[in-house]
Symmetry: D3
């Protein structure tokens, strides 16, 4: 992602970006049920995916231990990427702990998003990389999962994520932006943000919603006039 | 609501008020599943209601946009009122954002209660009006709802709310008080609060629960004696 | 519990203890769905159990009021014990309030764990005893429960708890440790904690997961060498 | 509804009708979570609505007994109408029993649809009117509801139903059709049904899906040829 | 239970019995979420209870195998009793199979009620004893449970059941009747059943609900007159 | 699969097979939440997998229509295979209809298993191929899914299924058997079935569970004697 786009996506709120996606017919873009481990965390990045499958003891024996798909992916994540984990919304185990969070952070990853749990959650929160998850759970992943494969399209929190999709997260949640739309969505979201901020100021002054939100011709004329004033 | 009653209801904890309602046979009075956006928020007010219905694309086209039922209600809410939204517990979209929260605040509303989501949740929390909701979600309401009508009895968080009902919220949750009962419920809750505070102090001193909570004759005599002491 | 064991269990994270239990074939040891009322709370103690049954009006009349099973148990809890309540995960009422929390604290209890709600939650959080619960709810227990019996094996948060079992809770959650295993589990968790801390430091330096987590012979040799160095 | 339209809607499967609604951009039209009490029941009719609100003891006292909103609506339902009840998906009580089902049947109602329960379910199933519900429950409605109002837009099974909307139900479920679209949706569903039936016959003969479903030019030519052959 | 009472309770529908319990203030009497394995099954009996706790591997090793609490209880159930199992609504394993169902049947038990699963469900359904459960599941109980104790008050399907309580089940569901109320509840339910049957016949003739259900003075006079006519 | 193994697996009940898997340490083998469309259906086959991802409008446009992954897989399924679909337990749309069921049947597939819905469910049930699903829903798959890829390991009903795994379904549910274990699991299940049948006959004669289930030395001697008798 080029730095200018990253900057715009960092400035635009997730709520505003999602409204622009909706205008383009995209509503299935929300990774729901995840929250940041530490309040105030937000991020922008491109997706690197990792898929867990439900625990099956024979498969765990073969694929669960050692340098498994999970660990290989944390070693492979690159600068600016968001490591996204499909864990089927399972809250009864963790999908990562502090050592792996430190590794992702050291690799320069932008964030970790999992619709499963996190263990040693306080230690993970302290690492410094934003981690959005379904919550804390002390169990290792083997209680519920087999780490399986990476770098394919996955389902996370009810949304499909392809490798390379752009993910943006803040206090409202996490959304997925198809890369080809990111530039225009960001631009339009920032423009709308300016407009909404101006409207909010008018409403705070006591003006009614009617005619102002959305703006009628009269209000828009005032807005445009102010915008053009240096 | 007269200021004296408002003052009493502000002082009494929701837990204590609900216990008094239970004594009068009312248990279906809890708006469950909602939490304040900012810790420590509490409120007292009378209900103004707003009802959302499930998204149906044809109805959204007709009723969803422009100066819809939602916006009209935020323009109409009056000082001291609590704007209560029926959103069927749907967490997959917002039911309001910061502009509308600012409008309700500017109108002098006491609070907003919704069993749906809130977008731009950090901005909404910063407005200053208490907002109790099912959580943050970045999507606009049209992902899940059609804003429909107002000022009728609704279901919110599993409780029926009529326009004019008294709502009280604190860290424990939100309850609905039939207006005719509010005065006596508030008085009795405050009296019980005094008594429970005295009991709590005795328990903190090491006295057992037995005979003290509830008080037997001996303990009550001591309590009454202290109360009458200036 | 002897002070040395208590100290070890206090130092070891719940995540680390649960990993040791798993190595011994125990996975059904998590009290899920409970969180501390105040952030940062943690505890170690032995279980004293209390069981609630679903509200049945005739039984509540007979057993719900006065010096019931709940109150008797809070009067009976002893120093270092964790009062554990089976409430079937029911979130629609409280299972205790501030007076009882004060009593447990005055008795020297280590913590209270309930898979039901807590009323006057802010007051309870201020008492000083760690309370892990399914959340705040203002209703008294009689809305959903009859307090029934104590000192028998119960189900809490999906785990079986016997009187005398060791419970440990922190930000990750609460686990149940069979007393006979506690010493070795604590020792091994602390040893593993040292090792994982050392690994974390190496990962923070930029070393990959591969070969290091878990350690191969080369890394282990380095680790062992450092350990033996004063 | 004119008899010709009713006939078409009776012949077309709900699955086919819903596909036509989707082509016109309508997907929020499914009353989910309801099943017929007796296997094989299906229906077509126009909606008459009834709304229940959550039990609140004071309101039940005032509005729950006697000739309440529920009973008035069953007395008022007219021939060919479907009585649709909003019960918030609550399965813990009934929303009607056999006496009311008999009344609706005697009035000539086409069906009853409720996202709540039915009591005396075997007796209700024997009445002869199709009843689609969330299942059987022996409790009277007052355990969970206050019967409230009628003839307004409601939410049932996750779909918005306006009075006068057309409802069609079969083994697949129940859908809501905006009246203005009913004719064309029915016509196109029947045409598609013919086509799909012809395709199904070809597939049964062993032809692959590829090129046939949907039909390519070659297959369509054959289909058209057969259609024009008397 | 004396045969006359058993006969009355067999004749009265569960819906009618529950309405009489409600008149006496009892609503927490429904074992919800259970259905008969074979359609048309119904039963009357007194409760013998059995409690399962969540799987904990150490406890299963000690208590799960051999002649465990489950098997002892099936050997002990007596004629006319209903074996009621607390399984916490867990659907991911069975709580009995055909051998134990045959044993209960051979002992003369009236029914088995479990809020968990049943394995070999077709074979169990063929045994001839009514079995109400949360559904079929092939896994043995050890996947989710430790069979624990018997003959104590338990929670089943959201209701408290004491040993000796009367249970009645039919297509609507299962209810719990305190023994001391059974006679009057049965008598009043049968009387109401007569009255409702007469009302149903009038409604089938085309009379409106208004004034008839419940009956006004005029209708009651007609009803009473017919009743007194031989 | 060789015919002899298929025959054994067809004869052995799923409950018995799952007990043998458990003896070998495998419990994560249940595809839960699926039921046959027609009562009495059962099957044995090897898995061919198909994966759906959550609806994302841009991806549906690109991959959802025409000869998509779903249709390609139904054209490719081979004799004796079970087509298994990952639909994330989503019940709000179908994952197949009658045309595709006919195709699978024509190809000689042994069954279809989906943890999503089925449309035209009555027509599908009439095709003759066993279909186990989460239930009927009239919507086409595009309401909730994008058909994505095939022939990789998937999650279905909470179990991991690899291409080539053996699946067996009957009234109790569906299980996954690793191919390498199938022969011994089938043999042992059939042997256990004989034994359990003999035990069931003894219990039906009135013998207690104690000592018989499992058999003590005395009972086993009798059993062995009878077995060896021609």
């Amino acid at each position: 992602m080029n730095p200018a786009l990253r900057e715009k996506l960092t400035t635009a709120p997730v709520a505003g970006l999602s409204a622009q996606l909706r205008k383009r017919g995209l509503e299935g873009v929300f990774i729901d049920g995840v929250r940041p481990l530490a309040p105030g965390q937000s991020f922008v990045g491109t997706a690197r995916t990792l898929r867990f499958l439900p625990l099956r003891e024979d498969l765990f024996t073969e694929y669960g231990g050692g340098y498994n798909a999970q660990k290989r992916t944390f070693d492979a994540v690159e600068e600016g990427e968001v490591l996204v984990i499909e864990a089927r919304g399972e809250k009864g185990s963790a999908t990562l702990g502090d050592v792996l969070a430190i590794r992702a952070h050291a690799r320069g990853a932008a964030a970790i998003v999992t619709d499963g749990g996190v263990r040693d959650a306080e230690a993970v929160a302290a690492v410094g990389i934003p981690v959005f998850s379904a919550g804390a759970h002390p169990a290792v992943l083997g209680r519920k999962h087999v780490p399986w494969d990476a770098d394919l399209a996955i389902a996370c929190g009810g949304a499909t994520v392809q490798p390379g999709d752009i993910l943006v997260g803040d206090a409202d949640g996490v959304i997925v932006i198809p890369p080809a739309l990111a530039e225009e969505v960001a631009d339009d979201a920032l423009a709308q943000e300016d407009e909404d901020g101006w409207i909010a100021a008018r409403v705070a002054e006591g003006h009614p919603i009617q005619g102002l939100f959305p703006m009628n011709a009269e209000w828009r004329a005032k807005y445009d006039a102010e915008q053009s004033t240096p």
